[in-house]
Symmetry: C2
Subunit: 191 residues, 2 copies
DNA sequence: GTCTATACCTTGATAGAC
DNA sequence: GTCTATCAAGGTATAGAC
């Protein structure tokens, strides 16, 4: 079954991207992890960038699914909190693909990928609506530009603090999630 | 002059690390930027990792210098704010070397580099003292583990939000610094 | 569509003359 | 210590048989 094989490929790419990042991940590794020859990979995906883009699209779709399933009865602030919590948990599970934030061949490929851009836009719209509502009701600081809030939320998806705290060995995953949620929404200053 | 040449090398490495990261930076580029042959580089530094480590040590020393010069009359909270502000400014100037947070050959080299570890420890001690004082006086949330606060501060040095906001083109560098400082210390929630 | 084998290139690092 | 020239390894991608 073609779809099942491709899902297995993308799943492994996803994991490897989370583990080592785009540049350190090799196509040989992916092929070995899936258990097929490298040349077979290239029958499904035309390039390494294409592989990574597929993994990113898969993750974005999962994110969108989660957002769509968030309890509409929650306050806008709690919806945002739920979104960030989900992101942090995915990252702690080693399932959040890490891509270079700097310019690279991958960024060009992503910017040319309609699936990626569309899903990213949908997510941004949904989060943007929540942000606007939260600022209107005064639960999120209205002085912050909505775009800055959005970027700050996205950045939690690749926050190195999670890995640092995890390797310190002093906190459970649940504690780490709550700590980062707290610093994200409440800040370091005392309230 | 040997020292001057090595300073020129490390300066270029620093800039290239900030631009493209460790993996995307090539030794050929460094040699070209400095204006010497690649083989000559290897007379000064024994490996690419060694080059990057030297750049990191240089940046850590600059950070330590800055911390030592912070006005002792400031409150502990304002000292921490000054430290983060400095980090953000360096990053916006494209001078903050970006290293892979994931495991790699570079991490091993850094962990074997006494200069790096010593300076990092000194900085952490200085910041740690300020954090403790700030928590004691109640200006920083005392419920947060000091280590989590420290990591959160460090993480601002590679915060992708800066680059996102910069490329949005809607804010000056000064505004971006104040925005990120605000989200870091005050959080997204309204106060 | 899977495989083996390989082309082609880039990269980190070195040899050896000066 | 600088250069030119080169090596060895490992990477992406492809050819071509089945």
């Amino acid at each position: 079954m073609l779809a099942a094989r491709e899902e297995a490929i993308v799943q492994n790419v996803n994991r490897l991207l989370a583990e080592k990042g785009f540049e350190a991940m090799t196509v040989d590794e992916v092929a070995a992890a899936v258990g097929i020859a490298k040349a077979s990979l290239y029958k499904h995906f035309t390039s390494k960038e294409d592989l990574a883009a597929a993994a990113m699209v898969r993750m974005l779709r999962r994110a969108r699914q989660f957002l769509d399933a968030v309890d509409p009865a929650l306050s806008p602030l709690d919806k945002l909190r739920a979104a960030v919590r989900w992101t942090l948990q995915v990252q702690l599970e080693g399932q959040m693909p890490a891509l270079p934030s700097q310019n690279s061949s991958l960024r060009a490929a992503l910017m040319a990928n309609r699936d990626y851009l569309d899903t990213l836009m949908e997510i941004s719209d949904e989060l943007g609506g929540w942000i606007e509502a939260a600022q209107k009701e005064g639960s999120v600081n209205p002085k912050l530009p909505a775009l800055a809030v959005l970027y700050t939320l996205y950045a939690r998806g690749c926050d190195p603090v999670l890995g640092f705290l995890q390797s310190s060995g002093q906190h459970s995953d649940e504690e780490i999630v709550e700590l980062v949620l707290s610093t994200c929404f409440d800040g370091l200053r005392n309230r």
